[in-house]
Amino acid sequence: MVHPILKLVAQRIALGLVLLWAASVLIFIGTQILPGDVAQSILGQSATPVSLANLRAELGLNDPPLTRYMIWASGVLHGDLGHALTNGQDIADAMGKRLGNTLFLAFWAAVISIPLAVSLGLLAVRYRGRWPDKLISTVTLATVSVPEFLLGYILVYVLSVKFRLLPSLATINDGMSFGDKLYAISLPVLVLVLVVLGHMMRMTRAAILNVMQSPYIETAELKGLRPIAVIARHAFPNAIAPVVNVVMLNLAYLVVGVVVVEVVFVYPGMGQYLVDHVAKRDVPVVQACGLVFAAIYIGLNIVADVVSILANPRLRHPK
């Protein structure tokens, strides 16, 4: 007999794939009903009727939509995302680089923010209602409330322009050493950490506080365990599911939602790449980006679901 956990996990993954397919259809339809026209947007103010007609024919914009969807979907399944309409670059190549940059930034922001958020959450519970709790809550609430671009500009003003400690441009390229890259992205990482910290910290705090009302916590306390041990050993494992959920949501944000931070720090990530191509109606690139974003979002949520399932002892050890 198949272990119920395997079955559950398989179900989740299958559901994820169906979702991804649905997303691909939605993305395709969405890009078809965008106002305006690719040829017009590429040529801009310098468009003449003749050059418009030429470009339209060249780009295959005269085929029916269903044909174009089938061609596109089969291409994607074969790993071929096509070429950008605007500059003819191979999308997989161009996007791969940008995606790598986005993941690089998201990775370092996550590596710093997740442990920090969880530890701060634990600390806040330990000193609940006292000054460390209040300080942590106030500061993280403040950084999460300030719009990210303003936070970015403030840090640029203080750390780059005034004191010249950190670079205001986070442009990275292949020629840079690993250390140079880390130095270049220090400011955007700092901003992203400040932006996601509050949400994760507060969720950790709330989830653990919820568990702290349980009778077994009282038992642990009566056994004479130190408060921080009670929280870390007994309360936190049972609060993992909601914490993982919110961590994954924030990870997804770090990958797909940081276009404003990219703009402020001139970081060559996916967000700016997508926005540029939407503005020019470069449909194949928009579709490819949409699909990648959807896959990342769905993938991270599957991970969150699976971890929640695994964290539940009743599912892990069925009778």
Binding site: P35, G36, D37, Q40, S41, I42, L43, G44, Q45, S46, A47, T48, P49, V50, S51, N54, L55, A84, T86, N87, G88, Q89, A94, K97, R98, Y153, V156, Y157, S160, V161, R164, P167, S168, L169, T171, N173, V263, V264, F265, V266, P268, Q272, Y273, D276, H277, A279, K280, D282
Partner: protein
């Protein structure tokens, strides 16, 4: 000759001409460059360019969708990138003269219908091949092909035939055009090997800088072309262009020393930025205009009194002061200004509530609000400018209703479609091109729908007129006609404002475009 030299020296002392043009002009008297240099007063000799260093430009106006094909360049970063690696056959200098580049000589017949350009010998492309007359012919043919997507297609239309004759390129025009060299200075017309027909994106040219890497929307790097045909330019070891679209990010990159020059300073911060230590802000009045267009053939704007009412109901000086923070020139409802050759100033049209009210009454308009469509992309500050217009018109008893629309699709669905909307024009090197592009009855971009046989006839007559005095007079008449009859409300000419650190030497203002017409990297050096 001695007197001429004395005159030149006087000019250079008073700062009227640069060291470079001094040397060029002394060379014209047959003096060698070395002797020319010794004649320079000490102050100017200290300007001797230093070699070396990496010049970093932080540039706004580039996207991930950009290509290296010069025919498709339509925004500041592709323009600048093409300027690095390519050359045109002629160039317009800062004082509006034609400077031979890849062509070393040009001649025209009496009525301006046949032009010969002698192509410079011994020029090499970056791939080591020689520049030939055929390359120039193929380039022109690619841009004038009806199937081409080139931004220069419009200006190549009037050329009936392009042929090679020995060292010369011979262009025959359907009707005479005294301005042809100005048209051929267009930045799209970069000469490429075999015209770039096979490899439009190869970025192989004759320019100062060879392309090393090109990441559209992110970064471009260049190295010095050791075989550059023009030894007077190219003082750095290399150039880096970083695409920085966010205005605040651009200024902070300059202030924190991560780039040496930036473009498109927001007028609102230009004065503040200029006060920062080590930062120089340069503004130069160009030919760009911010406008409100009415369709002169569409109700209610087909009524001349209503058009005049609106023209008198706008406070142009207020717009220059508040929208451009003083970094611009006042408009006069004509699309040209003193930056154009052969320009004659007309009496300034002022804000006049009394006249506006009279014309409004005479127009018999029913008093319903007149809808003005505007988007942020119309021009920087367009929405605020529309609000100012609404206020000044209200004081004349004219009700304007501002309809704000999204940037998306503005240039395809609103501009040149909607009968009353805001827009900008980048300007053209000569008056003929400006009027031909936007005021001929047949022009695709007649965005004021100024349809008049008289005007057409005057524009065409001025184009082929080779007598400068007669031409100047014709352009003055055209301007009067446009100011009176057309649907153009032009409140202001915007400045190009760019900024660099005080480590940069050799910067000169050029009204053709930002960054010294795009040649800053070739002509400046680290002091």
């Amino acid at each position: 000759m001695k007197d001429q030299l004395a005159l030149l020296l006087e000019e250079i002392d008073s700062g009227r001409i640069s060291r470079r043009s001094f040397l060029n002009r002394t060379a014209a008297f047959g003096l060698t460059a070395a002797l020319g240099t010794t004649l320079l007063p000490n102050g100017a000799r200290a300007d001797e360019p230093k070699k070396g260093g990496m010049f970093r430009m932080g540039w706004g106006g580039g996207e991930s969708t950009d290509t290296l094909d010069p025919s498709l360049a339509d925004s500041p970063v592709p323009f600048l990138v093409n300027r690095q690696w390519g050359d045109t056959i002629v160039n317009v200098t800062a004082d509006g003269q034609i400077e031979p580049r890849l062509a070393e000589k040009m001649t025209a017949n009496a009525d301006g219908t046949e032009w010969r350009f002698t192509i410079r010998q011994g020029v090499k492309f970056h791939d080591g091949s020689d520049l030939t007359v055929d390359d120039v012919v193929a380039t022109f043919k690619r841009h004038s092909d009806e199937n081409s997507k080139s931004g220069a297609l419009g200006i190549m239309k009037g050329i009936a035939s392009i042929a090679a004759d020995g060292q010369d390129v011979v262009l025959t025009l359907a009707s005479g055009n005294a301005d042809l060299p100005y048209l051929l200075s267009d930045y799209h017309l970069v000469v490429q090997p075999k015209g770039g027909v096979d490899a439009p994106n190869a970025a192989i040219g004759t320019g100062t800088w060879k392309v090393l890497t090109a990441e559209p929307g992110v970064r471009y790097t260049f190295e010095k072309n050791p075989a550059d045909w023009d030894a007077t330019r190219g003082h750095y070891d290399g150039v880096e262009i970083l695409v920085i679209n966010d205005a605040t990010a651009r200024t902070s990159a300059l202030q924190s020393g991560q780039v040496d020059m930036i473009n498109r300073i927001d007028p609102k911060v230009a004065k503040l930025l200029g006060q920062s230590p080590g930062i120089v802000v340069s503004n130069v009045s160009g030919r760009g205009i911010y406008v409100f267009n009415m369709f002169a053939n569409t109700a209610p704007f087909d009524n001349k009194d209503l058009r005049m009412a609106l023209k008198y109901a706008i406070n142009r000086q207020e717009m220059v002061d508040k929208i451009l923070d003083g970094f611009g020139g006042i408009g006069n409802d004509i699309p040209v200004n003193a930056a154009y050759p052969l320009f004659t100033a007309l009496p300034q049209r002022e804000y006049d509530p009394v006249k506006a009210a009279e014309h409004y009454k005479a127009s018999g308009h029913d008093g319903s609000p007149i809808v003005l469509t505007v988007a942020d992309t119309s021009f920087p500050g367009a929405v605020d400018a529309a609000a100012l217009f609404q206020q000044s018109a209200a004081a004349c008893g004219i009700t304007l209703e501002i309809k704000r629309v999204p940037d998306d699709g503005y240039w395809s669905d609103v501009w040149n479609v909607n009968p009353f909307c805001a827009a900008y024009w980048g300007g053209r090197p000569v008056q003929d091109q400006m009027y031909s592009t936007a005021y001929l009855s047949t022009a695709d971009w007649n965005d004021t729908r100024t349809i008049s046989k008289d005007l057409d006839a005057m524009i065409l007559a001025a184009r082929s007129e080779t007598d400068t005095a007669k031409r100047t007079e014709l352009y003055s008449k055209i301007a009067m006609f446009v100011q009176e009859e057309s649907g153009l409300i032009c409140p202001m000419f915007n400045d190009f404002i760019d900024s660099h650190t005080d480590k940069i030497a050799g910067y000169e203002k050029d009204p053709n475009f930002e960054a010294m017409g795009g040649w800053a990297s070739a002509k400046t050096w680290f002091a």
